[in-house]
């Protein structure tokens, strides 16, 4: 047992650390570090730089631009990317639809979509959740019917993150209404410009336009847009979610946020000194750090075990990472609100409509409360933490 990195792994880490800081524009990384909303351009610019250096899609098959890395190297990549506050490569492209097409798609689909997906020439959206299908995803109702040489799609998707930027959408749709609910689902791709698709924004409690509703009204897509086999979509969705394993705990991001919170606490006045002087505050930080360290080691254990496991099967340890990872993301966003104190309250200038007044709070405090509000999502999405507990109870404990 050796928990330390080998010299080769350290060299690998140092090279990535240098690369991310040297090559990804500082102003973009600054926006990530401060928890500000990124423009489409920020995300595309960053990912294209990564892609030009072969670093956008390391988890893909080598043939399609992936890297023959060990699980440890993959972990280091994710960790360093997050700690350098590099925008995460667009997950819908790199972690979701890309691996599914690479694994289950036709040769024609691979040629057509994979290079463009790696380079975000195509921006993908995820069409999974529906108004009536949240945690119970398999109950989805959007249907696709074969008519001649087309699929005709009708229904509604929701919580479609960054769907306003999307060129294409990958959807789970019901193709067999007679079959048991998981059995009658297919995985179909649709061009967002297809007539009958409309997108309506949902404004979240932090005032942001991050998610959308997507409506399908007699949307006709070619039969060849089906990925893999008809009615096997649920298997592909499970494969896709298992792919999220490595990044799900977002330990690098939480570390980066925590380091920033400590820096700010050391500068923010309180009493005769600064917030950091308060032993109660420091103990609160210490407890977060303890749990974060424990999660980091747990993550490494999962990574190390990955080399030996069947990668297509979901690992129940992922649920542990999801639960603790989301709790710590939320704990650190809450910490920043509390450091901001009364200046967590004002609504930032650029978040107010029609106002042109100068900002009244320290710049860093602008995003404290909105991020805290926004991060309540992390224990809800990707299978809520309660669903994760169900998975642990059933898959791990056999209850």
């Amino acid at each position: 047992m050796e928990l330390r990195y080998t010299p080769d792994e350290i060299a690998f880490r140092d090279e990535l650390r240098r690369f991310f800081r040297a090559e990804i524009p500082a102003e973009i990384r600054q926006r990530v570090a401060e928890g500000r909303h990124l423009s489409k351009e920020d995300i595309v610019t960053s990912q294209r730089i990564l892609n030009a250096h072969g670093l956008a899609v390391p988890n893909w098959p080598v043939k399609w631009g992936g890297k023959d890395w060990t699980p440890v190297q993959r972990y280091i990549y994710t960790e360093e990317l997050q700690r350098a506050a590099v925008p995460q490569p667009l997950g819908f492209n790199t972690a979701m639809v890309g691996p599914v097409i690479a694994q289950f798609g036709s040769e024609a689909q691979k040629e057509r979509f994979l290079p463009a997906t790696a380079n975000v020439d195509i921006w993908w959206a995820q069409g999974f959740s529906e108004p009536g299908s949240g945690s119970d995803l398999a109950s989805l109702k959007t249907r696709a019917e074969k008519r001649g040489d087309k699929w005709v799609i009708n229904g509604q998707k929701t919580w479609t993150t960054l769907g306003q930027h999307a060129d294409w959408i990958f959807c789970l749709v019901r193709t067999d209404r007679e079959a048991k609910k998981q059995k009658g689902i297919s995985f179909i791709l649709a061009d967002m410009k297809t007539p009958g698709i409309s997108v309506r924004p949902i404004i979240t409690i932090d005032g942001a336009h991050e998610v959308n509703e997507v409506f399908f009204d007699d949307v006709e897509v070619p039969l060849e847009n089906l990925v893999g086999e008809e009615n096997r979509g649920w298997d592909y969705a499970k494969f896709l979610l298992a792919n999220e394993r490595l990044g799900i705990a977002r330990i690098g991001m939480t570390k980066q946020r925590l380091a920033r919170a400590k820096r700010i606490a050391r500068e923010t006045p309180m009493g005769e000194g600064v917030v950091w002087d308060d032993p109660e505050f420091r103990r609160r930080v210490a407890r977060i750090e303890v749990q974060l360290k424990a999660l980091e080691i747990t993550q490494m254990r999962v990574v190390a075990a990955q080399g030996r496991q069947d990668a297509s099967k979901p690992d129940p340890a992922t649920s542990i990472l999801k639960i603790k990872g989301s709790e710590l993301q939320q704990a650190t966003t809450a910490l920043l609100v509390d450091i901001a104190g009364p200046y967590a309250l004002p609504l930032a200038e650029h978040d107010r409509e029609g106002s042109n007044e100068p900002e009244i709070m320290p710049e860093w405090a602008e995003t404290a409360a909105p991020n805290y509000f926004n991060y309540r999502k992390v224990s809800i999405y990707g299978g809520s933490n309660e669903i994760q507990r169900n998975i642990i109870a059933k898959a791990f404990l056999g209850l």
Partner: protein, 384 residues
């Protein structure tokens, strides 16, 4: 980075696990061991020696096996799973740790082989009533007289102090009660004139002792390590002991988790197994999360207990103890709750795991104490 055990470590794990399962698998046996004269089983202690466990961390030239922190972790986890009552922590980890890191050649040659063969038991007489967990808070004095020292003072809650043959005693050779300098360690025969021991059972079924030292004369050869520079040695050995009890706690939590889940699968109420209720399933899931976080930190503590930089070692081990304590309390309390009334009985094993976990919480620094140590280390644990 590699979490695999080597072939030798796997072999060690298999044989220790088997021995502990044989010795403790039937919970009734533990009651019998506790009823023996020393409060634990001398026959089992011989088996520990025969299996090489008592010599595990020592060098081969002293009859040991040259094991490191991972080997200790393997053994301690097994002892935790079995809820073993033998003085392994007191003798091999604490006493043995002082000899390994502070003992002279002569002391090592004399005492270590006897530990390894099972004929010498040690205990660490450190805690004083006023000190709580501060390792430097020592009022016991050792005054130079002739070519030796005279020790006076009172030590409390000395783990397995009543059955030890020899005591490692911390005493002040200079300075005042809370000085970090001026502490010296002594090897004192437990039957030396002026040593009075009062043994008692502890809450978890193990043993402790209050030990008074009145005009106890020892020679220069009783000094362990450097005169007046005992604190760094104490801190090092206690951090190793913390790593060891962290592994023990993980073993206990692991067994308790398994016991609880088994119970949920068999206990029937309302015409069904209670494990089918989601309220209980989620609590069992949270217990598993707590256990795995603790397991991770026990591994981290094992690795970092050997770190060269004492600041890094201290922050890491303190962090591990915080997690072990938080997880141990959660797993212990929830296990009793999920079992219901049966876990309130002295007869059933779950309550005993709960009690051991609770006592481990208060061993060498409770949660608040260790949390303060993490906080004081500032950026050592999670570097920017």
């Amino acid at each position: 980075m590699d979490f695999d055990l080597t072939d030798e470590q796997r072999l060690l794990k298999d044989s220790v696990d088997r021995m502990i399962e044989d010795a403790y698998g039937d919970f009734e046996k533990r009651k019998a061991y506790r009823a023996e004269p020393l409060g634990w089983s001398e026959a089992l202690w011989k088996q520990y020696a025969e299996l090489g466990l008592l010599g595990l961390p020592f060098e081969e030239r002293h009859g040991g096996f040259g094991g490191g922190a991972v080997e200790t972790m393997i053994v301690m986890e097994a002892l935790g799973r079995g809820l073993a009552v033998e003085p392994y922590l007191a003798t091999v980890i604490l006493g043995g740790g002082f000899l390994r890191h502070g003992g002279s050649e002569a002391q090592q040659d004399t005492f270590i082989p006897r530990i390894a063969e099972g004929t010498l038991r040690l205990a660490f007489a450190q805690t004083e009533r006023q000190a709580r967990y501060d390792l430097f808070d020592i009022a016991t004095t050792a005054k130079r007289e002739g070519d030796g020292f005279v020790i006076d003072g009172e030590k409390g809650v000395v783990l397995h102090g009543d059955s030890a043959d020899m005591l490692v005693v911390s005493a002040r050779t200079s300075g005042s009660r809370r000085d970090r300098e001026g502490i010296t360690l002594f090897l004192v025969p437990a039957d030396a004139a002026g040593v009075t021991r009062t043994g008692y059972p502890t809450q978890d079924g193990l043993r402790g002792a209050e030990i008074a030292f009145s005009n106890v004369r020892v020679g220069q050869d009783a000094v362990l390590g450097e005169i007046g520079q005992g604190l760094p040695l104490i801190e090092r050995v206690v951090d190793e002991a913390l790593a060891a009890v962290s592994a023990e706690a993980v073993g206990a939590m692991d067994a308790l988790q398994t016991t609880t889940v088994d119970y949920l699968k068999t206990r029937q109420q309302f015409g069904t197994t209670i494990g089918s209720f989601q309220a209980l399933q989620h609590r069992a899931a949270d217990m598993l999360v707590a256990l795995e976080q603790a397991r991770s930190m026990a591994m981290y503590a094992a690795m970092m207990s050997e770190a060269a930089d004492p600041r890094e070692r201290r922050a890491a081990v303190a962090a591990a103890k915080v997690q072990i304590n938080d997880s141990g309390r959660f797993v212990g309390e929830q296990s009793v709750q999920l079992h219901g009334g049966i876990a309130m009985t002295m007869e059933y094993k779950a309550g005993h795991y709960f009690k051991r976990l609770t006592m481990i919480e208060n061993l060498f620094g409770d949660t608040e104490y260790q949390l303060r140590a993490v906080a004081e280390a500032e950026d050592v644990l999670v570097a920017d």
